[in-house]
Symmetry: D2
Subunit: 295 residues, 4 copies
């Protein structure tokens, strides 16, 4: 962080900067060439230095952590909310009224129907904004994101599943209504989600290669494996990438799709920064170029 | 290993003692109270001490590694073959002729049909023995194993799948022919296989709890989780256990079964020692009681 | 655990059974052939099953966790105290009065001088017992341990250092007063302490090989490496072993000693069970034979 | 890599691009804003794509691997040699004659005395260059590096030790001759070297804080901890940083210094890229800004 604000950098705030997702935002934004961190908040560590709480940030993010208050947060033109659900809604409303743009990483704006939101999370603090929020997956909603004031970032599981299934859905291969069988497996790894999807396609083998290539061949963060080396967690660890493999299983008439993402990267903070790049009209890879840390 | 053979211990040989599976056999057998290691072989390290090749075996298995030859191997009444495929067939024939019993951990005796074996692995060295070999899963073939001269131990993937699917198969819930979609995922863990099976059951929800309880409630190595805490790799690491979870997915009319095993334990050497216990008429948990190493 | 108490098994209690050290005691004692767990306590999880708190103990330790009270604890003839410091002193006094024997894994009885104890930990709850407690390192105090009523188990750091330095101290090579430079290094490993000791020996090269061999050649848990393969954490992980390497550095006139132990094994619960074996007159390796879990 | 060479980027070659160090060079250089990879070589994988050998490099380094020959390598103005010892010397001579600059990561140019080199490594292929090579530690030899044609990069152990000891040496606290006790410890971690140095200082406590601050307070890659949180491997993993802690031990009259580096980063490829930045007159942090990957 620099003492004097650069003319060419967009001031950015991060509320909830010391949680898992918040720290990953700091890790990425600290060296993003087009943004400047101007306000960081932490309920738990208020008043301490970010680099005191996380020594690996020494010399990288040394700013003092403040309170998650709109007055201070509004120093940013764009504000990331990495807060628990329920805490983002009214803060977002306040910040939008001040002319700021908000990227929310909580569940607060993910559901478009207030009644459904209420059933799962309780009453919503700013229901009038639900219809305006744009779902933060650039590969699917890039055009709407360019002009968005409010971005609702998906969680890591939906990101992993959506990116694998979208090409099939566009081709009409997912019969309505889609039913999801969700079987999470807890593994002793520090980063990474591997998702496998089995899609029964009654009409016979679809042109999977061309469906995925049409959808993603120009996407900088999607790595298409097809029948090549299977997606592995280590190739996406520390990145904003999503590696996708697929094959057709003739015996069962199923398309099998495997995706690998870093849950903190493309599953959270990385994708949020990709959205920031879209909002600011920057190349989407800005600040997100680092290859995976292998080994 | 003791210099003087105990009257009550069965002499046992391990051929291929320095491969992954062989070392795990040594690790388990070294303190098995009813066996005595009398001959170990290693093509690669012949003439060296086992504990020189693997220092963690110092003071535990200090014997010199010999050649994989039937004369020396026949010092054991029971011989484990942990050799590459193709190497076991003729050795097994020779040892059976000498009145020995053999537990083979290679693929050589897993397929009953010599023609099928030839298609996958090439000509078989002792095809007349294929029909005699008993598949080494005590939970499924305990009675036949008691009198077996030749045991064909399954690999880790089939073990993981069979134990999860057998209760459904017995209830007639797997429609013939069963088609398997096999999607291995490479994970950065040193031990452990997590297997998920999706079985479509057209007739509605089957009594999964009672099917699994009937099949396994008296099995010492099967941990039934049902809808409880999901099977995790760390609870089976270093053990001969198989943890099984299941649930019914009403929307898709699928039974979902998850199994967790240690690929070197219940998936290989542990199960082979469990078979030895069956062959020798010992309690099946003999030498296999150690809990998982947590953390 | 068995419902009916075996005639040949010593009843044992573990107070503080769900902490790191307590769980490791359960892991080891569950299959110790000469003891029976009769009372387990946990302040935090009182009333729940041990195997509910730690699913890997399913079918291994299924008993209900009770309160850390002397009446219940006295069901054991020997009681392990795996409690925070300060909680053990008065409990130990009460249990000794009832004729029980106590192995304490807290710091409460490690210091012989009540004044020193008070300076570090505050007032002592049973100072009259300090002089009676025997330090729980069988390799150094085996004779006194045989008749001990109260054992004060050392922590993992002193164990690692003592076992490496004792042979040099016995030979008079540690000049008085000994000064210790303690430099802990935090490493991302789940078990294991590697300790390096540099001892300046002014008089020239001492006969290190014979000093270590004299001290430890008959010790079942000490693995002497000398100038052989260096001690590694993986060879002691999950065991009660201490691997020791050493060499003489002519240029600096230093003896360099490296020890590797599992902090939960020889550094805590394993050594406490070794002490139990000494107290009960059993072979010291009873229940502690399992080799390291490699890989 | 870009098809059209940018006017502002320096063309760079990497010989030995698929070894541990070479791959780390690719990982860093792929997004270095001031260089362009123009030739990569691999004896083993010649003719294949770098991203085929290492899938995590897909879309990042897709170039074909060639032979380690000077004609092709000379396409770079600056050439990294990440080759086994003995292979660099004559290649370096040839490339220097063509007016190129060379950063050698092998031991070939580390020793200034040809006779000493011969004793350890055999005859040297270009002994006349030994006196010209500059040791590649910018913190110590920055001025000479700026004009260097040939850089001899140190290995990871010397780097870790030198950075910890240099401030004491400059203050005359290391009595001549310095004797080094080298005790490597093998740990199950994928990256990272933790080095502890004990320096006896006869004259009493030196001003350690000010010595280290004088030496390093303006160094962008040195993190000074002093008596603060101790250096940890995870804070340097994936970076070019060296974290240094120190304290004075009054009882033994020793200064104790601990350094943490990533053996592939500051211990090899990261430091080599830092040297490149010095040679090219760039800010030294160029391309090396990425924070550690935590968690």
């Amino acid at each position: 962080m620099e003492a004097v604000r650069s003319a060419t950098r967009t001031p950015v705030s991060v509320l909830g900067a010391t949680g898992y997702t918040g720290v990953e935002l700091l890790r990425i934004l600290a060296h993003h060439p087009a943004v400047e961190l101007v306000h960081l908040s932490s309920e738990q560590y208020r008043g301490r230095l970010a680099s005191e709480v996380y020594p690996f940030l020494s010399g990288i993010v040394d700013e003092t952590l403040g309170a998650p208050e709109p007055d201070a947060a509004a120093a940013g033109e764009l504000i990331f909310l990495a807060l628990p659900h329920g805490a983002a809604a009214s803060l977002a409303r306040d910040l939008l009224r001040r002319g700021r743009r908000v990227i929310d990483l909580s569940p607060d704006f993910r559901l478009r129907d207030a009644a459904v939101h209420t059933r799962w999370y309780g009453d919503h603090g700013a229901p009038e904004l639900l219809s305006e929020a744009v779902y933060g997956v650039p590969e699917l909603y890039r055009d709407r994101l360019r002009r968005a004031r409010l971005v609702a970032n998906p969680g890591c599981y939906p990101t992993a599943a959506l990116l694998g299934l979208a090409p099939l859905a566009r081709a009409g291969l997912l019969s309505a209504p889609v039913v999801i069988v969700f079987v999470p497996h807890l593994l002793p790894v520090s980063r990474g989600i591997l998702t496998t999807m089995y899609v029964r396609v009654p009409g016979g083998e679809p042109p999977l290669d061309s469906l995925f290539e049409q959808a993603y061949s120009r996407e900088p963060f999607i790595v298409l494996r097809g029948a090549g080396p299977p997606p592995e967690l280590r190739e996406v660890r520390g990145t904003n990438r999503c590696a996708i493999g697929w094959r057709w299983d003739e015996a069962t008439q199923h398309a099998i799709v495997v995706t690998a993402i870093d849950n903190l990267g493309k599953g959270a903070a990385g994708q949020a920064v990709q959205c920031l790049n879209v909002l600011l009209g920057l190349p989407e890879t800005t600040g997100l170029e680092a290859p995976a840390l292998v080994p």
